[in-house]
C-alpha cells in the first residue's frame, strides 16, 4: 500500500525539471491583485491557466469558485480535492509585480497564497511529467472569499453544493514547508469600533479619547482568566485610530480573534468581551460597537488518523520534520463536514504578510512532492478506512 513512498525522492528532481512552468504560473497568476471580494481577474487568469494545462473539465461553481477536474480511472471512487485560496490581503493599489532572483521570488502575497495557487494550476502538468493517473477524480479548486471578512464563504459554498461524497482533501499554502495542519481551533474574529461625536457644545465639553477607550478594552480583555484546558487565547491583531498628534482621537478600531479548542469556550469568552465592551460604553458614554467578522467551529482529525499518519510518513520520506499547528483556513470547513483533510506548506520564506514577502525556490519541489505523496495516499485508500 505504501509503494508510492519510495518513488517520492525521485519525484523531487522530476518536478524540478519543469520549474519554469511552476514559477511562470505562480508569477502570471500572483501578479494579478486579488483582495477579498475582488478576485474576478485572478479567477479568470487561473481558469485560463487550468484550461491551457488541459484539465478534463474547467468551470466555475455557482459562487464563482474556479474549478478544474482531472478525471480518474475509477467511476466509483469519490473525488479528492486540492484547494488553495485565491484572495490576498493586499489591495489593488499595491504593486504586485514580482522579482525573481537566483533562488527566490519576492512580492506581495507570494506566500499567502500565490505560490499555492501557482502550484495548484501546475498540478496537471506535474502529474503528466510524473506519469501519474489517479483512481479518483482530482478536483483543483481555487476558492474565493476566504480571508478576513470573506469568512471562508467560497469553500463553504463549494462544499455545501457539491453533490457527491468527497474522499479526502489537501489544502495548500505557500508556507511553511513542514507544516502539517489537521485540526482547526474554534474561532471568532471580531472588531471593536469606537466613535466619539465631533459635535461641539457644552454637553460635549469633555470628550473622551477613542484610543484610550480602546486601550481600556484591551486592558480588560487581558485581565480575563483564560483556561489552559481547553487551550484558549485572545489574539489582539490589529488596531488603528486618531487623526493627528496634537488632537484627541475621535475614532479607533481594535481587531482580535478568540481561539480555542472548544467552541463552548470561544462563545463564553466572546460573551465576556461583549460585557466588557458594553460596560465601557456605558461608563464612558461613548459609542462602542462589537462586530463579528467571521467564525469557524473547532474540528480535528486525531493524530492517529490514517491520513495524518500517512502524511507524516510522506514528509519523513522526504526528510521533512512535520510540525503540527492549527489552521483557521479551508481545512476547518472540510473537517467540520467530516471530510478527512490536511493543510500542507510548500516552501520556506520571510516577511510572510509584508509587501516584500520572499520565498525560497529550491524547497518548492520537495513541497510539491509531499502534496503528491499525500494525494497518492488518499487515492490508495487511507481515508476510506473506517
Amino acid at each position: 500500500m505504501d509503494q508510492y513512498l519510495d518513488k517520492l525522492p525521485d519525484f523531487v528532481e522530476k518536478i524540478k525539471s519543469i520549474k519554469e512552468a511552476i514559477i511562470a504560473n505562480t508569477v502570471l497568476i500572483g501578479q494579478i491583485p486579488a483582495p477579498t471580494f475582488k478576485e474576478k481577474r485572478r479567477t479568470t487568469v487561473f481558469m485560463e491557466r487550468l484550461a491551457e494545462f488541459q484539465v478534463d473539465e474547467c468551470s466555475t461553481d455557482g459562487y464563482r469558485n474556479p474549478i478544474g477536474i482531472i478525471r480518474g480511472t475509477s467511476e466509483t471512487k469519490p473525488p479528492i480535492f486540492v484547494v488553495a485560496h485565491l484572495d490576498t490581503i493586499f489591495g489593488r493599489d499595491v504593486d504586485h509585480y514580482y522579482t525573481i532572483a537566483e533562488n527566490s521570488i519576492t512580492g506581495p502575497a507570494i506566500m499567502d497564497n500565490s505560490l499555492g495557487v501557482g502550484v495548484l494550476a501546475s498540478l496537471p502538468e506535474i502529474f503528466r511529467k510524473l506519469d501519474l493517473r489517479f483512481e479518483s477524480d482530482i478536483v483543483l479548486a481555487g476558492v474565493i472569499q476566504s480571508l478576513g471578512k470573506g469568512n471562508l464563504r467560497g469553500i463553504r459554498h463549494l462544499l455545501k453544493t457539491w453533490a457527491t461524497p468527497i474522499r479526502g482533501a489537501v489544502c495548500i499554502e505557500g508556507a511553511e514547508l513542514g507544516r502539517l495542519s489537521y485540526y482547526a481551533d474554534g474561532m471568532i474574529r471580531c472588531e471593536v469600533d469606537c466613535n466619539i461625536s465631533t459635535a461641539n457644545g457644552w454637553e460635549h465639553k469633555f470628550k473622551p479619547n477613542a484610543i484610550l477607550i480602546v486601550n481600556e478594552v484591551i486592558n480588560q480583555i487581558l485581565e480575563l482568566r483564560l483556561p489552559q484546558k481547553p487551550r484558549s487565547r485572545v489574539i489582539i491583531g490589529k488596531t488603528s485610530g486618531g487623526f493627528k498628534h496634537g488632537m484627541i482621537a475621535y475614532d479607533a478600531m481594535l481587531g482580535f480573534e478568540i481561539q480555542s479548542k472548544s467552541d463552548r469556550m470561544v462563545k463564553a469568552i466572546f460573551n465576556d468581551i461583549q460585557d466588557i465592551v458594553e460596560g465601557i460604553s456605558h461608563e464612558n458614554e461613548v459609542e462602542l460597537n462589537l462586530k463579528t467578522l467571521s467564525n469557524i467551529r473547532a474540528s480535528s482529525l486525531k493524530y492517529n488518523n490514517p491520513l495524518v499518519k500517512s502524511s507524516v510518513k510522506v514528509m519523513k520520506k522526504l526528510d521533512l520534520e512535520p510540525v503540527s499547528e492549527p489552521s483557521e483556513s479551508e481545512l476547518s470547513i472540510f473537517l467540520s463536514r467530516k471530510i478527512p483533510s490536511v493543510t500542507l506548506g510548500i516552501t520556506r520564506g520571510d516577511n510572510y504578510h509584508l509587501e516584500n514577502a520572499t520565498i525560497e525556490i529550491e524547497p518548492i519541489f520537495k513541497g510539491i512532492a509531499q502534496i503528491i505523496g499525500v494525494l497518492l495516499a488518499i487515492d490508495s485508500g487511507v481515508c476510506d478506512e473506517k
Binding site: 519543469i18 519554469e20 512552468a21 511562470a24 502570471l28 501578479q31 522579482t99 525573481i100 537566483e102
Partner: protein, 326 residues
C-alpha cells in the same frame, strides 16, 4: 496623408494567441526564432522574462529556439541570474572582439545578429515588469502569418475612439510626443502612423536587420524605422497592441539626453538620404546645467554618434552565415 497602412497593418495581440497555429507556420516555413534581451544591470527583471518565455514559448509551445542575453558589462548579478535560468549569456565586448569596442543598446542588438541562429530575431527590453509571453508571440505572429510583413513593432495603448466622439490619446511617451512625432510629421508624415516608434520591443527577419546600420546608443529604434522604410517601404511594417507595459520611469534630464541622441540620428539619416543640405558641422554635446551652491555649472553629455555598418558587411558574419553582400 493616407492612413490605409494603419488600418491594414495594425493588430491586437489576441489575434495571435493561437500558439499552435504559429508553431505550425514556423514548422512549415522551416524557420528558427531567436529572442535577444540586451541588458545593463537588470537583475530585478531579467529572470522573470527568461522563465516566462522559456516555460511558455520553448517548453510548452516550441516557438522560440533560443534566448540570448547580450550584456553591456552589468555590475549587478544580471549575467549570473540569466545564466542560472538557462539563457545563453554573452558580454557584448566578447563578440567580434577584433572590432573597436563600444557600449550601448544598439551595439548589443547589432552583435546579437552575429551570435543568434534565428531567421527571425525578437528584441525585448529587459526591464519589463509585467512581462507576459504575448510580448513575443504577438510580434512573431505577423511575421509568420503575413508574407509581406518583415518587421513588427509593439505599441501599448489603443488610439481607438470610445463611443462616437470620445478619443483617447495614444499614450506615446514624452520623447515620442515631443520629438519623434513632430519630426515625422514634418518630414515623413506616413510614419506618424507608427504609434510608438521608440518602443523597445520589435521583431524582424534577419535579412532585414543584417542590411541596416545600427547606431550604438539611443537612436537605434529611430534609425531602424527610417532605414527599413527607406529600403522596403511601409508595407513591410506591422504594429501590434500589446496592451500594457510597465517599466522604470526616467526623469526629464535622462529623456533630454535620449531626445538629443535621437535628433542626432535623425539629422544624420536626413543628410544621408539627401533630404537636407546642412553645411555646418553639428555639435555632438548635450549641455544641461546644474545649480551647484550658487553657481550654474554645465553638465556635458557627449555623444560620438558611432554607428555600426550593416552587419552583412562584416567578413566574419558573412562567413558564419554564408552570405554575400547584395
Amino acid at each position: 496623408m493616407k492612413n490605409s497602412w494603419m488600418k491594414s497593418n495594425t493588430f491586437h495581440y489576441s489575434e495571435f494567441s493561437d500558439l499552435n497555429r504559429l508553431v505550425e507556420e514556423k514548422r512549415k516555413k522551416n524557420l528558427k526564432i531567436s529572442l535577444c534581451l540586451p541588458t545593463l544591470n537588470e537583475e530585478k527583471t531579467i529572470a522573470k522574462e527568461i522563465i516566462i518565455m522559456k516555460s511558455e514559448l520553448m517548453t510548452r509551445y516550441p516557438l522560440l529556439d533560443e534566448i540570448v542575453i547580450v550584456d553591456s558589462g552589468s555590475t549587478d548579478k544580471t549575467r549570473e541570474i540569466a545564466g542560472s535560468y538557462g539563457a545563453d549569456v554573452y558580454e557584448a565586448e566578447d563578440i567580434l572582439p577584433n572590432l573597436e569596442k563600444f557600449k550601448g543598446k544598439g551595439e548589443n542588438l547589432w552583435k546579437a545578429l552575429y551570435i543568434t541562429k534565428g531567421d527571425i530575431i525578437v528584441y525585448l527590453d529587459a526591464d519589463i515588469k509585467n512581462i507576459h509571453h504575448r510580448f513575443v508571440y504577438a510580434l512573431v505572429g505577423p511575421l509568420l502569418l503575413f508574407d509581406n510583413i518583415k518587421y513588427a513593432k509593439a505599441f501599448y495603448d489603443r488610439p481607438i475612439s470610445i463611443g462616437k466622439s470620445k478619443i483617447r490619446p495614444t499614450g506615446g511617451g514624452r520623447v515620442t510626443e515631443l520629438v519623434i512625432r513632430p519630426l515625422f510629421s514634418l518630414f515623413f508624415p506616413e510614419l506618424t502612423q507608427i504609434l510608438q516608434p521608440l518602443s523597445g520591443e520589435y521583431a524582424g527577419f534577419r535579412e532585414v536587420f543584417e542590411e541596416i546600420p545600427f547606431p550604438i546608443g539611443y537612436g537605434v529604434e529611430t534609425s531602424m524605422i527610417l532605414d527599413i522604410y527607406d529600403k522596403w517601404g511601409l508595407d513591410v511594417f506591422a504594429q501590434v497592441d500589446l496592451d500594457r507595459r510597465i517599466h522604470r520611469n526616467q526623469d526629464t534630464r535622462a529623456l533630454g539626453k535620449m531626445a538629443f541622441a535621437i535628433l542626432l540620428t535623425f539629422i544624420n539619416r536626413k543628410r544621408k538620404l539627401g533630404m537636407v543640405d546642412y553645411k555646418d558641422d553639428i555639435f555632438r554635446e548635450m549641455i544641461q546645467y546644474n545649480l551647484v551652491k550658487d553657481e550654474y555649472e554645465p553638465d556635458i553629455f557627449k555623444i560620438e554618434g558611432h554607428e555600426r555598418p550593416p552587419i552583412i558587411e562584416i567578413p566574419e558574419y558573412r562567413e558564419k552565415f554564408n552570405r554575400s553582400v547584395s
